[in-house]
Amino acid sequence: MRALSTIHTALVAFMIIVTLPVAAQDAVPPAPYANVQLPDPAQEAKAEALMETLRCLKCQSQSIADSDASMAGDMRSQVRERIARGEDPEAIRAWLMERYGDYVSYAPRVSETTWPLFAVPLLLALVAGLVLLRRLRGRT
């Protein structure tokens, strides 16, 4: 067991940190494309954009693009390899969502459980418009 896992603990608002559980991590070198970019910059950009929106399953709330966890590395490698094979980023996202549900994607899609996420902003825009009309119209 070479290294203790790095649990990256950012904290921006409050400083209440306890000693984090120290989990073990494996000694196997990272997957081929975990920390290696694709040679084609266009493909790498696609992979990068996708990785930033996939959730690291082992971490608290980080994308796989910003995690040291080895599983995140394996997921990065999968993403890059699939992109290199010409798969569409959204197909890769769908493949992961088929396995882990909506949780794995930071980009919520409209579904029967998530529609309020999209309806509420619309409603807000509507209410904002109405409030502004009422507040601002007819005032001289």
Partner: protein, 648 residues
């Protein structure tokens, strides 16, 4: 002994808060003002006692008194003194004591110096402040006693999370706390004004410096926190829309709206109910944030001492304080007249627009943060992250920025298009030029492109209120506004540029090898072990040169702390005027190469420079307002003297 002194001071402070509440509340009744003379002194002594209790906590941490449970749990004798002291508020109990202390000191200050509002409103305000304070005293004394002793002293402390052993984080928590708690003053003023139905421009003028003060600290806190996450997490990200980050952003959004609506109320006696509402909402957001973060009901990258009992306590406080204030609002706000009217094309009109947009953004951040909790109640787990927050908030942010560019040019009450037509045209042209340029010459995504265009336009627009004015006679507060709005433009430019132009290089190289990222060439000369007071590290020694220029030595580290055991990455940064090189050394690969992560981030530093400028703008506005108040006071006092003289 010292811990016991602290505890006694805390109990005494709590009893004085009770006295302050009772006397202040009784004064609202007819004939209840006999005891009212006690309210102000009670507030002042309460503040001093709370500060004394906090000082005692600093002392036990400074001495590493391991018979105190909190010290044993969160400190360690082998730690630099500054981190021992910061450990005092780097935990739940200590930070709550800090919270209470700041709140009590703020209460003491208004009790000591503020005499402009009707005394009844002031007493109601102080009573409200005491009510909120009492809840937190109860929390500390009954469920989070920071001075609790261990039956037998610990042999050694468990240490402070190494990520927190950073100088930035010594100042970060108190900064944010001053911000959160400063909003409690606005809250108390709002409640006081509702109780006595005295929602006047004077009320807004008196509340404004407190909101400004809190807002300055929130701005600094968020800016510093973002920079800390950027260099400490080691992946070059500076904002993750993590629940805990959102918890600090939401009070800022509410306070920003409050600041502007209070200006309308102070200058034009309009937006009365709306300002009261925002006063309540701003502090609610501080408390909601505290609750979300400490109850552990949300999953965050930021780790917390999570305890459902604490969550229950905070939720109860939240329900009583905020629920009570909102109930009072619902019952009373209808009787508060709406105030003066104004036309669409006026300073007030622009401010109302931006207030509504800010509130909408606040609503979206709140929704996105809470939504995973809603679905979890139905056993569905979802994640809401940057792909949601960025575009959805942009729908409201960009219109707001557009109006923000124009608003300061408008006159109060009513203005004509012909007067501001030309500056608006210039600003719009700048934005369009950047848009067109970015569209044709660089393939930039829509949001960063809009960000670049708006930042350019806004940077120019920020200075337009200075046109045709005698700069020497310009009020300091106006300079503050210019600086803050320019700061927003600067920060926006940094964000857009980071997003549009960053270059990333991941490389596995041997000592002696090199890698290129953007205009930089980085040579890894060696990797050597090194040690600090409570850590050991592998240090990557590198030479970085910009476009073949002279090499600059940098040394990112991968650190291993032993108390508690944890690994952290210390990134190395090279800052130039046009961007930052960000280097991280990772693990050794099987072939004996070293994993390097390198980024070239053009103009990234503008994000935090902009934040600092916004805070500076706030500071100027605060100074300007306070000076103007003092002047007004002296003028009034002189007039009163003269009147007294002529009467005599």
């Amino acid at each position: 002994m010292i811990a016991e002194l602290g505890l006694v001071a805390l109990w005494l402070a709590a009893s004085l808060a009770a006295l302050q509440l009772v006397t202040g509340a009784l004064a609202q009744q007819v004939g209840g003002d006999e005891l009212a003379v006690l309210t102000r002194p009670a507030a002042i002594v309460q503040g001093l006692l709370a500060a004394f209790a906090f000082l005692m906590l600093l002392v036990v941490f400074g001495q590493t008194d391991l018979s105190v449970k909190l010290v044993a749990m969160n400190s360690h004798s082998e730690k630099p003194l500054i981190f021992k002291l910061s450990g005092a508020f780097g935990n739940h109990e200590g930070s709550m004591l800090l919270w209470v202390t700041i709140m009590a000191l703020a209460g003491a200050m208004i009790a000591a110096i503020e005499h402009r509002l009707p005394e009844k409103t002031m007493l109601a305000t102080l009573a409200a402040q005491a009510f909120v304070g009492l809840g937190f005293y109860a929390f500390l004394l009954f469920s989070s006693n920071p001075f609790e002793r261990l039956p037998t002293p610990a042999l050694q402390g468990q240490g402070l999370n190494p990520l927190l052993q950073d100088i930035g984080l010594v100042f970060h928590p108190p900064t944010l706390y001053v911000g959160y708690v400063g909003l409690s003053v606005a809250f108390s003023f709002a409640v006081g004004a509702l109780v006595t139905r005295q929602v006047t421009p004077d009320f807004a003028r008196i509340m404004r410096p407190w909101v400004l003060g809190a807002w300055i600290f929130l701005t600094l806190g968020i800016t510093a926190g973002s920079y800390w996450a950027y260099y400490e997490l080691g992946w070059g990200g500076w904002w993750f829309w993590d629940p805990v980050e959102n918890a600090s952003l939401m009070p800022w959004l509410a306070a920003t709206a409050l600041l502007h609506s209070a200006s309308v109320l102070a200058a034009r006696d309009a937006l009365r109910a709306w300002t009261i509402m925002l006063g309540v909402v701003a502090f609610s957001m501080s408390m909601v944030g505290t609750f979300l973060v400490r109850s552990g009901i949300l999953t965050s990258v930021h780790a917390f001492a999570v305890d459902p009992e604490r969550g229950t306590f905070i939720l109860a406080l939240l329900a009583i304080n905020i629920g009570g204030a909102l109930l009072l609002f619902a019952l009373r706000a209808g009787t508060v007249a709406e105030g003066k009217r104004f036309s669409v094309l006026s300073r007030e009109g622009a401010l109302v627009f931006n207030n509504v947009m800010l509130s909408a953004v606040l609503g979206i951040v709140l929704l996105g943060t809470l939504y995973p909790l809603v679905t979890e109640a139905f056993n569905v787990r979802v994640s809401v992250g940057p792909p949601y927050f960025n575009p959805v908030s942009a729908i409201f942010v960009f219109p707001m920025l557009a109006v923000m560019a124009v608003g300061p040019l408008l006159r109060w009450r009513q203005d004509g298009m012909q007067r501001i037509g030309r500056p608006v045209l210039i600003v719009a042209l700048v934005a369009l030029l950047v848009l067109a340029g970015g569209w044709t010459f660089a393939s930039i995504h829509l949001l960063p492109l809009l960000g670049l265009a708006f930042s350019a336009a806004l940077a120019i627009a920020a200075f337009m209120p200075l046109r045709g004015r005698n700069l020497r006679l310009l009020p300091i507060a106006t300079w503050g506004m210019v600086a803050a709005h320019f700061g927003i433009a600067v920060a926006l430019f940094g964000m857009a540029s980071e997003s549009a132009f960053s270059k990333e290089k991941l490389a596995a190289i041997e000592a002696g090898g090199s890698a290129d990222v953007g205009p930089w060439t980085v040579v890894l000369t060696d990797v050597v072990p090194t040690a600090g007071p409570n850590w050991t590290a592998l240090e990557g020694q590198m030479l970085a040169s910009y476009e073949g220029g002279p090499p600059i030595a940098i040394a990112p580290q991968s650190r291993n702390f032993w108390a508690p055991p944890q690994e952290t990455t210390e990134s190395a940064l090279v800052t130039r005027w046009n961007g930052q090189l960000y280097a991280v050394v990772g693990r050794e690969t099987a072939e004996g190469r070293w994993q390097l992560r390198l980024w070239w981030k053009p103009f990234v530093i503008f994000i935090w420079l902009g934040g600092a400028l916004v805070a500076l703008g706030g500071l100027l506005a605060l100074i300007g307002r306070v000076l103007a108040d003092l002047k007004r006071r002296t003028v009034k006092a002189r007039a009163a003297e003269r009147r007294a003289e002529s009467a005599a």
